[in-house]
Amino acid sequence: MNNIRKNKIKDQAFKALGMLFTFFGISILVILIYNIVRVGFTRINWDFLTGLPSRKPEEAGIYTAIIGTLDLMLLTVIFAIPIGVGAGIYLEEYSKKSKLSSLLEINISNLAGVPSIIYGLLGLGIFVRYFNFGGSILSGSLTLSLLILPIIIVATREAIKAVPPSLKEASFALGASKWQTIRNVVLPSSFGGIITGIILSLSRAIGETAPLIVVGAMAYVPFVPHSLFDTFSVLPIQIFNWTTRPQQGFAVAASAAIIILLLITFIMNGIAVYFRNRWQKKLQ
């Protein structure tokens, strides 16, 4: 009797503690967003979204930064998805379990934790200097691709691992080859997970500043990139630049830009959640 009561009290205590921690995390986020919205929300208008950067804080806009961000993401997707998903499929389905493959596995997971500035230096060395792409949007997107590749590979592998082996067996037993099984059974079943991983990795890439600064992205770009070799700017760099200015007006503009960046990130996460739910429903 006594023991049961003790356990109940412990149970309640842990529940309360868990709630406290949850609220702590959420309240910090709420305060952060509230502060930014309070300062920056009124600054958002059509002119701000379509305006070019300027020396005068009240005239400055984020058009080139938004387009730069979207272009950069698009290129990153084009480079990173085929390589990342392909590598994930290979590692999970084709490669034999050996010392080498487990070494690869550990290192790919480690790569996901390497500080992004290191990737920036790598990009500077390889893409900017060696291949002579310069501080272009091409160099930037290739660098970001390297940055998110490990995340995509790991996500792809996890998603493929979650496909019930019984489904693969069924496919093989009907005379399907490995590729037919991957194409018709494994990928459709893991699509939701793979897409979620890709979009979450892009949410990380979209906020990256350090590696792009190293690669040579500009804070002041008065035009949108027209070719792969044009210089570019992105929202985080614009924000970073504005926050270093002394004028109060730029702080307001930075807050407004942060709201836009958050909005884009939330939309991307929303899409990820939507896909995941849809595919889970379809699987059941």
């Binding site: 019984s166 069924a170 037993a173 009907l174 005379g175 399907a176 080859s177």
Partner: protein, 270 residues
């Protein structure tokens, strides 16, 4: 991956000279998973259009053995096989064997119903589509035929585009049988096909198996003694990786040669 014997031609000659024709022929088969020997020197001949039941306690090697016939063990790490397995006088572990072709000839139904998360039609058409059959008319015909063979047609004919996962467990298992039949194999391997089903669904599938015997050679793994005695012509009793006894089902269940077989059948162990 698999160590395969080489005196294929010699063997084949001896084989064709024997009067009795076997559909399946296993000779001196050993299977290892790493250091563990799962199958110990098993030889077995299976006649065409017969039903053979594999019985034995869990871990006795019967599932491993049935999976040799369509080479499903190939995907298991550290799997190694010695000996010879022939289907219609062709060594299926030979260097020239196309595993995909083999599996069109040797269909398999699994323990748990495992329909694809696709529509009923797509499930049955799957095996045909991967063979490159695209003609909608042929597909429709073959799907209907297979569903009728599996005694499922009347229940699903109006809902062919419905998800297969919406079917009941018994229906799903018959769908899996239909899916296998659509490929038109000549051998049907069934690994405990009714162990996850209720008695009514089980009865339906047993009846179905009985009908299928006309056109197929069937091997069924089962833990259910009554099932083995009801539906099979031959019964093989496995224990600890060895084939203890293999004979006509009636003989095994009424007058087994070995004490071990008798003990197992009467429920004294296992």
């Amino acid at each position: 991956m698999n160590d395969v014997m080489t005196e294929e031609t010699v063997e084949a000659k001896i084989e064709t000279s024997t009067p009795e024709k076997y559909k399946l022929h296993a000779k001196n088969v050993d299977v290892f998973y790493g250091d563990f020997q799962a199958i110990k020197n098993i030889s077995m001949n299976v006649k065409p259009n017969s039903i053979t039941a594999f019985i034995g306690p869990s871990g006795c090697g019967k599932s491993t053995f049935i999976r040799l016939f369509n080479r499903m063990n190939d995907y298991v790490d550290d799997f190694k096989m010695d000996g010879k397995i022939k289907i219609d006088d062709t060594n299926i572990y030979g260097k020239k064997t196309q595993v995909e072709e083999l599996r069109k000839e040797v269909g398999m139904v699994f323990q748990k119903p495992n329909p694809f998360p696709k529509s009923i039609f797509e499930n049955v058409a799957y095996g045909l589509q991967i063979q490159g059959i695209k003609d909608k008319k042929i597909l429709t015909q073959r799907v209907e035929k297979a569903l009728k063979q599996a005694d499922l047609w009347n229940e699903v004919k109006d809902n062919l585009n419905k998800s297969a996962l919406a079917l009941s467990g018994g229906q799903q298992q018959r769908l899996c049988i239909a899916r296998t039949l659509a490929v038109e194999p000549s051998i049907l391997l069934m690994d405990e096909p009714t162990s996850a089903l209720d008695p009514i669904s089980t009865a339906k599938i047993e009846e179905l198996i009985h009908h299928l015997k006309e056109h197929y050679t069937i091997i069924i793994v089962t833990h259910n003694m009554q099932q083995a005695s009801r539906i099979s012509d031959y019964t093989a009793f496995f224990y600890m990786g060895e084939l203890i006894e293999f004979d006509k089902t009636r003989k095994i269940f009424t007058n087994p040669e070995k004490k071990q077989t008798e003990n197992y059948i009467t429920g004294r162990f296992g």
